[in-house]
């Protein structure tokens, strides 16, 4: 008996799934599964960061300006890009492809602004002397504890790995959205919605990276400024 023929013997009402148990297409389900696996990647990195942080003397070097101001504006950019993406998907569901393209381009604008700001921030930190396995000398002096324990040089490794992987996702998303915007007339609504899922996921990851990497590393006493 073929699968198709067997399906006739199990009416949809029996398990309410019919031939689409999740009521989403296979591509959308695939994107959800990718998002789950990518969430685990980022979780592992963030837990690794927390592990190192809890087992070492950890520097808290970020000043209000530029680091926190930049990171906050970047967060605002990503949140706004998610909103414009939702508008794009919404327009696409109404069949308004021109508006969908316009909103997706707006999303790409905010995404590109995020990447540019982030690179400026990276550049600034590298100029201060931060490297993947090296702290700037004045950070080492300021954050060495009174009993002589030096701050962990792995600060840079965790910072560049986590924000770098996230930035890579944003850059990939920009290419993805560019393709979707260019071909939006040929794509059906579900394809646009799937690209939206990916973009919102990138935003979601930043909602954890921002507080854990930036807010938890604020130089509250202004030690470095002195």
């Amino acid at each position: 008996m073929s699968t198709e023929a067997r399906a006739v013997h199990f009416p949809a009402a029996d398990w309410e799934g019919g031939t689409h148990p999740y009521r989403v297409g296979h591509r959308k389900l695939g994107m959800w599964l990718f998002i789950v696996s990518d969430s685990l990647t980022f979780s592992a990195l963030l837990i690794g960061y927390a592990y190192l942080r809890a087992s070492n003397v950890w520097p808290t070097p970020f000043p209000f300006y530029p680091s926190i101001v930049f990171a906050s504006v970047m967060t605002f950019c990503l949140l706004s890009s998610s909103l414009t993406m939702v508008f794009g998907v919404s327009a696409s569901s109404r069949g308004d492809k021109a508006a969908a393209r316009k909103w997706i381009l707006a999303t790409m604008f905010f995404g590109a602004a995020f990447v540019v700001l982030h690179l400026i921030e990276w550049n600034h930190l590298m100029h201060e002397g931060l490297g993947p396995f090296r702290l700037p000398d004045h950070w080492v002096q300021v954050f060495t504890t009174t009993d002589g324990q030096m701050p962990s040089p792995l600060f840079g490794a965790t910072f560049f790995t986590i924000t770098g992987l996230h930035m890579f996702h944003v850059a990939t998303g920009l290419i993805y959205l560019g393709v979707v915007a260019a071909r939006v007339k040929k794509l059906n609504h579900e394809d646009v919605e799937i690209s939206g899922l990916y973009w919102h996921f990138v935003d979601l990851v930043w909602m954890f990276v921002f507080p854990l990497i930036y807010i938890m590393s604020v130089d509250i006493g202004g030690h470095l400024a002195k």
Partner: protein, 119 residues
């Protein structure tokens, strides 16, 4: 065969709803930045920040990613296993705290400050 459902669904949610979700997200972010400058213990800060982040993530997943309007079976397939897997990673933390305790504690006079590196 009539059991084939039409997969394409109308995209639920109004623009007003999405804008209000966005405002909530921006406000919660502002609270996080404000909290950064409140002196408090690191564990309290971490708890509050993670709580706010989980609320923000839930808002994004539920409304922007549309999961609230999907079938429950999809939610139950994706969310619980992800939460369980992430919690399993917490198994590493006891070791992390232990290694902090293994560091050499200077009992007498502290050593001289680190030598300034040549430029």
């Amino acid at each position: 065969m009539s059991t084939h459902e039409h997969v394409e669904e109308h995209f639920a949610g109004t623009n007003k709803l999405f804008i209000s979700v966005w405002i909530w997200l921006v406000v919660l972010t502002a609270i996080e930045v404000f909290l950064a400058y409140k002196p408090m213990s690191i564990f309290l800060m971490l708890t509050i920040l993670l709580g706010l982040s989980i609320i923000k993530a839930a808002l994004i997943v539920a409304y922007f990613m549309h999961l609230r309007f999907e079938r429950l079976s999809l939610v139950l397939t994706i969310v619980p296993m992800l939460v369980v897997c992430i919690c399993l990673l917490f198994a590493f933390f006891p070791d992390s705290f232990r290694s902090l305790g293994l560091r050499y504690q200077f009992k007498e006079a502290p050593p001289p400050p680190p030598v300034e590196q040549e430029h």
